[in-house]
Symmetry: C2
Subunit: 335 residues, 2 copies
């Protein structure tokens, strides 16, 4: 394994010059640059990221504190960040956040102590805590918010247009001829859930359809809760019961589908079902689930970029990157 010294010797220059070429400094003559480049190629040299980290004091690690990793959302996110870090030559250092212990602040503090990490990704629900933002700022840690509920001052956020996605999905159901469309909401604390509900309501309104409060059930992003919600909905008399259900995530859609098939109702003929997240669950459902795909890979890649070019100043205008989602219409909602 060759070092910067080997390259310097081979090229007949000093190590500093090689370093300059490596980090493409401006003040290097074309001639020496070529010489150095040639030497590097011949020696098949690649710099040691460890030594670089050591010297720079910075760490190539990206921190991530996550909640329940068995949820489709978090699992997709973790996977995407694992990939994005690899592609960026960085390392993902992830620790489970104990959501039941509400003292997030000290949990994050301990995490930072242990890892000495200077780049962090904040996912829901952590991303909505201004206390945490402040802590990170104090410690000089760069951080990016994934799907925060609002635009926070001096923060970089990466989001999708939740409301628009919900409108699309609801419109799709309307276009299929449905007029009685129910909605299972997510967690009330979660603004994504609120935005999706708002989109659902707007789409109905735009189509001149009534918004029935008994068609909106609080599912809490939870499979079990969704079971009973769906049970209630589908137990209504046939001519008043919903013919379509839009669920705020795929877990709840799976529940809805299970209840429907238990009750002898066929999907999509008698009940159309749509989810949100396009998580792995859609692979183990039959019929396949209509859902909105979050662009996890793009979100993670964008997060890496934003961390690399993080604003130097503590106070800056909020940066919000809205990434494109994608509606996948599948058999669960289409004849």
């Amino acid at each position: 394994m060759s070092t910067i010294h080997d390259v310097a010797e081979k090229a007949g220059v000093s190590v500093k010059t090689v370093s300059r070429v490596l980090n493409d400094y401006s003040h290097v003559s074309k001639n020496t640059r070529d010489k150095v480049q040639k030497a590097m190629d011949e020696l098949d040299y690649s710099p040691s990221s460890i030594a670089r980290q050591m010297r720079l004091g910075d760490t190539l690690s990206v921190g991530l504190m996550y909640g329940d990793p068995t949820s489709g959302y978090q699992s997709g996110l973790n996977q995407a960040f694992l990939e994005a870090c690899f592609n960026a030559g960085r390392y993902l250092v992830a620790e489970l956040l104990d959501e039941s212990d509400r003292d997030w602040l000290s949990q994050v503090g301990r995490f930072l102590d242990k890892t000495k990490i200077k780049n962090v990704v904040l996912v829901p629900p952590l991303c909505d805590s201004e206390e945490v933002h402040e802590l990170l700022r104090q410690r000089g840690v760069n951080f990016v918010l994934i799907s925060p509920s609002q635009t926070f001052p001096s923060c970089v956020s990466i989001v999708i247009d939740e409301q628009k996605a919900a409108i699309q999905i609801t419109k799709h159901l309307i276009n299929q001829g449905h007029t009685r469309i129910a909605h299972l909401t997510g967690d009330v604390m979660h603004v994504a859930s609120l935005l999706r509900q708002r989109g659902y309501e707007k789409a109905l309104k735009d189509a001149g359809l009534p918004i029935r409060s008994n068609f909106i059930k609080e599912g809490g992003f939870d499979y079990k809760k969704a079971l009973s919600c769906t049970q209630e909905l589908l137990s209504l008399p046939e001519n008043t019961r919903p013919t379509a259900i839009f669920c705020s995530n795929d877990e709840m859609a799976a529940a809805a589908m299970m209840v429907a098939s238990k009750m002898g109702l066929s999907v999509p003929e008698q009940v159309a079902i749509a989810g949100f997240d396009d998580s792995f669950i859609s692979k183990v459902l039959w019929p396949q689930l209509t859902s909105v795909a979050q662009p996890f890979s793009k979100m993670a890649a964008e997060a890496m970029q934003q961390l690399n070019n993080f604003p130097k100043s503590q106070n800056f205008d909020p940066i919000v990157r809205v990434l494109p989602h994608k509606l996948y219409v599948r058999e669960s909602s289409q004849l």
Copy 2:
């Protein structure tokens, strides 16, 4: 951020002594050890893993090349390794293996070049390639095999007793009074699948029940294939059709359950169903799925240990660590 020097000064000893305490060497007097420990606590000192990596030349990264990350098995494994690495102060560096490109050797080679990694975890199907073993050995890379199909020479393996687990699960079904028990196998190339089938057959035999070849279907660990397999099984005349189905993974069990409920057969009353892996899918099924839990966390932690204490010699007696699995009996197979 305090360094080893600060600790040394505060404790009134040399850095070397602090280093000794850190890596718990034997030849340190109780007295000085305490002094040093106290100083470390007071300064809230924690060693820089970067400097340590630099000095040792070794990398704290653990490499993992995985297949489809949306499978319950791989996803559970990835998650477990992410945690285990964190706990061991290591980093998980994971890259997707392109399984369709059968030239695994050069894929692994490129991965090693890029990352300079010296510790690798090999999961199915990669763990069964002796070519890959040889490549790693040549490069001086430590590696651990997860659930390999056999005991390879000079290799460290971490496994569960697949056959025993399958026997347990089948016996459980027999104890529930079932005599017509079907089995959906996994991938024929996969020895885990074979061992599970063998366990299934042994349990039947031990109970004096016949092994019917038309009750054994090749499901390939695949949801879609399992749909049609189950369809065939449950379309048999009522008095000859299976009353229980043991599936070689949870994805297939999900399929079986879906088909059953579509056909109007209740689970577990008319068909009992059991899976394998106890993956996240069991959370989105109703009734909840009986399954065998692979001890992912323990496997990952054990792998870290084995990498840390890897045999110095190129040739050593195979090490096989059999970890305990756990059968979770849930509603899908029990009245």
